[in-house]
Each structure stands twice: as C-alpha cells, then as structure tokens.
C-alpha cells in the first residue's frame, strides 16, 4: 500500500517550505535589509556588530520562545511568562543586597517554579482553561510585582547579576574549528556507516551545514564568536531542548501528549506529568530570563516586560508551532524570534519612521506566514502530482478469502 519508491527523500521534506518556511522567511528578510541598506550607502547590514546586536536583543525573548514552544507542544498555552519574569527579576534585586546572589537567584527561580506549578495545577488538576488560568496569573503576578515595587523602580548595589548578564564570552577560534570539523565528520561517519552514503549525506544536511557555518564564522567572522552571555545561554538551551525533544523518549511523549492526549494516555503515558512539567519548566525559565533581564541594568520597575507574552507566542507561532499542540520545533521558534528582532533592528538601521513601523511589522508578520503557508500548499499539490507519475507499487501478495 505504501509506496517507498514514490516517496520524496527525507531531506527534501525537511527543506520544503512547509518544514523550513521560517528559515526562508528569515533569509529573505535579511536579504531585503542587506540590499536596502547597501543601496542607501550604509555600512554592511551583515556586519559582525549588527548581527551580534540582533542576537543580543533577541536572546531573552528567544529563551522564552523555546520553552513557550515546549508548552505549546504539550497542548497548553501560557500567557503568564512576562509577568513571571518580572516577578523573578524583582525578587532577585530585592534580595541580592541583603542575602547575596545565591539566595536571590534561588528565590527568584523558586517564584518562577511556583507560578508554573500554580498554572499546572489549575489547568491539569482543576481543569480550567489554560487561557483563563494564565491570563489570571499574568494579572495577579503583575499585581504582586506592583505591590512589591509600589510605583518605584529599584536598583541593586551588588553587581553580580549585572556582571553576569552583560558579560561576554568568546568561543576560542580553535574550539570553533574543532566543533565545525567534528560536526562535518559526524555527518560523514553516520552516512558511511549506514551504507547509502550519498542519500544519507544529503539527509544529514543540518549537521554538516551547521558544521560549515561554524567553520565559516571561525574563518571569516571570528568576531561573531564573541557574544553576550544571554546569547550563549539561548544557544545552549535551544540545543539542549532540541536534543531532548528529538532524541529522547521524553520528547516523543511530549509531542504525543499534545497531539492526542487520549491516545497518549491509552499508551500508558502519564499525560498530567508531561503537561504539568512543561508549565513548571516554563515558569523556571521565565524566572531565569527575569533575572537576566533585571541584571542587564541591575534595575527593575513595575512595568518591566509588560506585554512580552504576545511577542513570545508570536515568535513561536511564526516558527510554525501549532497552537493546538503536538507540533513545534524550538529552533524554528528561535528563528521566529530572530525575525521579529531583525525587523526592529532593520527599522533602526534604515531609520523608518516610528509611525510606520507597526504597519510594516504587521504586514511582514502576515506576509512571512502567508508566504510559507501558500508555498507549502502548492508544494503539497505538486508533490502529489509527482508521486502520481511514479510507477505503481507491485501487487500485494494475494490472499484469497472465501466467505464462510
């Protein structure tokens, strides 16, 4: 019944607009900005400095987008992240001078975990709609922040957080080269071991492409190896989350729980545990972001990060994450974040009037999403046609069945 010969190879599927649309949209955006910028006689849009800026500006929302994606994959929804981050930042700065960095950060993260747990319990155990629950915690937690700060902004004297979150870290070129070579080697080894070298080598494109990218950066843009700490954290978390989602049973189960909770339950998966775990994790990471955010200026005020949740969800959805659960790829959500911040970076660089920025931003958002939705649909139709032309499968073994 299935017809393997007629199937497009995996790599082609992975490169199809349906799967990689957000990447193409990002590349297109960068191309447009680069060309416009150079047409206006400005310095190269793709300079190390500018690229680093975009990364740095995206880092915190990017981290939130990673774990929002996890929550969305699990089939839930979390509007409370920005408030949670604000609370964690506030708690950290309130405590750091009196109790030291360790206690402050721990307390902040505990707050995040607590908000996540409250969300988790209300949604999974009481059964209230996640939208209402997290809208409630969004409001209530923001209220707690306002009550703590009482209309004032606060600044800490202890600069440990400041130093950490504004610090930079450079990946030595040698290490980068080693990583690049290792990635390519891994792709080759995997391909050779499997036999079908050509096919496998193509299939392993993310691996060797990443390797080449790292080598290219190390070779031609070594400055890009020097990044702010939050950027490295975002990259590290994206990597870990991707690996866990892709290569562990936990990841599989999370997708299953979000894709069809009943099917997952009947297969013996503890649905509540996964869904609640995603909420708590999201709370914890929101707290981490809050601490990094507070650390950036060692200061918070009551409106910190207000409205950030919509940006985060937009990034995840732009990255192709389904709002109905069961699908999503964290790296694509990070690229969704990068699109959003590249856009505002582009406005700044090209000096587009602030009154028009929202018009452009909204239009680009919809255009990007339309572009890859439309092409992926055409793509599917094309794909079907192509398969049709292929030779039919061999007849199945016939088992004549006679009626009783």
């Amino acid at each position: 019944m299935t017809n393997p010969a007629a199937k497009a190879p995996a790599w082609r599927k992975a490169l199809a607009p349906r799967a990689a649309g957000v990447v193409y949209a990002f590349i297109a955006l960068l191309a447009v900005l680069t060309i416009t910028s150079s047409a206006q006689g400005r310095p190269s849009y793709l300079s190390s400095v500018n690229l680093s800026n975009i990364l740095e500006q995206s880092a915190l929302i990017g981290i939130l987008a990673i774990f929002m994606t996890v929550v969305l994959i699990s089939g839930n929804f979390d509007l409370s992240v920005a408030s949670t981050a604000a609370l964690a930042g506030t708690v950290a700065l309130k405590l750091i001078d009196g109790n030291g960095t360790f206690v402050a950060v721990l307390a902040a993260i505990a707050c995040g975990a607590l908000v996540g747990l409250v969300n988790a319990l209300l949604v999974q155990k009481v059964g209230v709609n996640a939208f209402i629950v997290t809208l409630g915690t969004l409001t209530a937690v923001r209220g707690v922040v306002q009550a703590i700060l009482d209309g004032k902004s606060i600044t800490a004297h202890n600069t440990a957080l400041l130093d950490f979150s504004t610090g930079r870290w450079e990946l030595p070129v040698a290490v980068a080269l080693v990583i690049g070579v290792a990635l390519i080697a891994l792709a080759v080894v995997l391909a050779v071991r499997s036999g079908a070298v050509r096919e496998k080598l193509v299939a392993a494109w993310p691996l060797w492409l990443a390797g080449l990218l790292v080598l290219a950066i190390a070779g031609f843009r070594p400055n890009l190896l020097d990044q702010a700490v939050p950027v490295w954290i975002m990259i590290g978390l994206a990597l870990v989350a991707s690996l866990v989602l892709r290569f562990t049973v936990i990841g599989r189960n999370l997708y299953a729980v979000g894709g069809n909770a009943e099917a997952a339950r009947l297969s013996g998966i503890n649905v509540d545990r996964y869904k609640m775990g995603a909420f708590v994790l999201n709370g914890v990471l929101a707290a981490v972001v809050g601490v990094l955010y507070a650390g950036r200026f060692n200061s918070v005020d009551p409106t910190v990060l207000t409205g950030g949740e919509l940006t985060v969800i937009a990034a995840a959805v732009l990255g192709g994450t389904s709002l109905f659960g069961g699908s999503g790829v964290v790296v694509k959500s990070v690229i969704g974040t990068l699109i959003l911040f590249t856009l505002s970076n582009g406005f700044n660089v090209l000096n587009i009037g602030s009154n028009y920025q929202n018009v452009v931003q909204g239009t680009v958002l919809v255009a990007a999403a339309s572009l890859y939705t439309a092409t992926s649909q055409r793509d599917r139709a094309l794909f079907r046609k192509r398969v049709a032309r292929k030779a039919p499968a061999e007849p199945a073994p016939v088992l004549t069945k006679t009626g009783a």
Binding site: V49, Q57, Q146, G151, T155, F297, N348, N351, Q357, N358
Partner: protein
C-alpha cells in the same frame, strides 16, 4: 486607590473638610506614581481628603473613574489626563456637575496648546514639554560644540511627547548649525529598548556624536550601548529621574532636564485648594514649574523625585 490623608492635620479655618479626587494615569509607571505621592503629602499638610484613582492607562477607565468621583460629589478633581482630546469630555462632565477641575502633567483639548488652558479648567500644572526640548537642545549644542550627527530616541509610537519634546530640540540644533539628525527611532520608554535602538543606530552610523533620548530610562540604556560600542557619543535625556541623575554622576549621561513629579502633584493640590477656598480665581492659567537643564556641573541641583 484612595488614601485619606489629613485626619491628623489640623483642619484649617474651614467648616467642612474638602475632598479632592486625583484621577491618575497609571501608578505602575514611576512618574505618575510620584505625582500621587506628592499630592498625598500636600493634601495631608492642607488637611484635605484626597481620593486617588488609577486608570491603569485605560482611557475608558479614566472616564468611569471621573464619573465615580462626580458621583461621590468630591469638591474638586485633579485630572492627570491620558490624552488631551478625550480628557476634554471628562472636564465637561465635571464642570456640568459643578465640580472644579484642574490638570497635572498634561492639559485638555486636542487642538490646544498647554499655554492656552481650556476655559472650564481652574488651572494646569505641567511641564513645559516644548521648552524642555529647547533646554535639551541648548545642552546638546554645548555638549557637541562642533556639531555632528545626532540621533533621537523617542518613546513608544503614539505618544505626544515624541513631537513636543523633539521639535524645539531640533530647532536649537538648526539654529546652531552643523548638526544632522540621522535617525529618529522609538525606544518605547524602557532602558532595554533604548539600548537596542542605540545599538542598532550605532551599527549603521558609527560616528553619531550625540543621542537625545526623550526619557532618562532610554538615555541610560543608550549609554550602555554607547559604552559597549566604544563610541564617544554623548547622551542627553529628559526627566531627572534617579537613574538619570546617577548616570550623569558616573558620566554615562551628559545631561538631562529636571522634572519634578512629586512637586507637581503637591502644586496641583495646592492650586485646587486655592481654587476651592477662593484664593485662585479668574481665567485659568498654566503653571509650568521650573524644568532646568542638568549636567555634571549642577547635578546636585536636581533632587530626583522618581
């Protein structure tokens, strides 16, 4: 949010205790929060009962709060308008109910200037936003005497300050000559977004000599961006907020314009008190309180109030 103050203070020669309503913008924002603090303190001094309500930035809510104050039959309402146009309808309502209204940190009437108060008001206490822009411009001209590239960081799109605080700033630069404004970009009133805007502008124009950010928060963010980019650009803010004053002291910022929301709130209560007790009569006047420019040289003259 109501604070009754003045129970302890000695009631002045007045039969009935006066009640004043303060319809504030958004007390989770530090500036209006400080207005409210100043108003409370002054009310306590004067033995006036102050009812403060927070619209949380919502125009419709501010309208219903004014309604609520009218229903409570307060003697006077101090309005911190979210926006001059819609606010006029609120003033009309209060006026129709025979309740005195004045504004703080803003005025009413979409096509008016603050200098020309709406006739149904008793007074306006506010900053001279256009004048502050001019003050910032004067500082800029001193900070970068030889001229050069300038970038302006505005608040979030849609705020009137984006024009009022900028128009006379640019005029001052033009008068002096030798300046070009290479970018005007929003920093959304926050340090982080101010930092991002400045980073991005610096990437496109390495030789910007001066950033003018129309609030101290954004100016501080901008300062961080300048430092990271090893630029020598100077930053001027507006506000005289704690962060701004600290940044001037440590050299991150060149200067700012000193706003005093705490005093402003107190002054508004005083004006209202005067209006209710008959000391303030006649056509309404606009009171621009002093908003001096502050640099390292005179930084101690500006005691941060928010």
């Amino acid at each position: 949010n109501t604070e009754s103050s003045g129970d302890s203070a000695e009631p002045p020669a007045q039969q009935k205790q006066l009640t004043i309503g303060l319809a504030n913008q958004q007390e989770s924002v530090t500036f209006p929060a400080a207005i409210s603090e100043g108003a409370k303190k002054k009310a306590a001094e004067l033995g006036v009962k102050l009812v403060t309500l927070d619209s949380q930035g919502d125009q419709a809510k501010q309208a219903s709060q004014v309604q609520d104050l009218i229903a409570q039959k307060v003697d006077g309402i101090i309005l911190v308008p979210l926006s001059p146009g819609p606010a006029q309808a609120l003033v009309d309502q209060a006026d129709a109910a025979g309740i005195a209204v004045g504004t703080a940190h803003g005025y009413v009437g979409a096509d008016r200037k603050p200098e020309d108060p709406y006739s149904k008001l008793k007074f306006i206490v506010t900053e001279d936003e256009v004048g502050s822009g001019a003050t910032a411009g004067e500082m800029a001209v001193k900070a970068v005497p030889n001229g050069g590239k300038v970038a302006v960081i505005t608040g979030a799109a849609g705020f009137q300050e984006n024009t009022t605080r900028v128009s006379d700033f640019t005029k001052a630069l033009e008068t002096k000559g030798g300046f070009t404004v290479v970018a005007t970009q929003p920093g959304n009133w926050t340090k982080q977004d101010g930092q991002a805007a400045c980073q991005n502008i610096l990437a496109a124009n390495q030789d910007v000599a001066l950033f003018y950010a129309i609030s101290d928060d954004m100016a501080v963010g901008c300062g961080a961006a300048i430092k990271a980019a090893n630029s020598t650009a100077k930053v001027i803010g507006i506000g005289g907020a704690q962060v701004g004053i600290d940044a001037i002291k440590d050299g991150t910022m060149y200067g700012t314009v000193c706003y005093k929301p705490f005093d402003e709130g107190g002054q508004a209560v005083q004006q209202m008190y005067d209006a209710l007790t008959g000391k303030l009569t006649g056509a309404p006047k606009t009171n621009f309180y002093e908003t001096p420019g502050v640099t390292k040289d005179n930084v101690d003259s500006c005691v941060p109030q928010w």
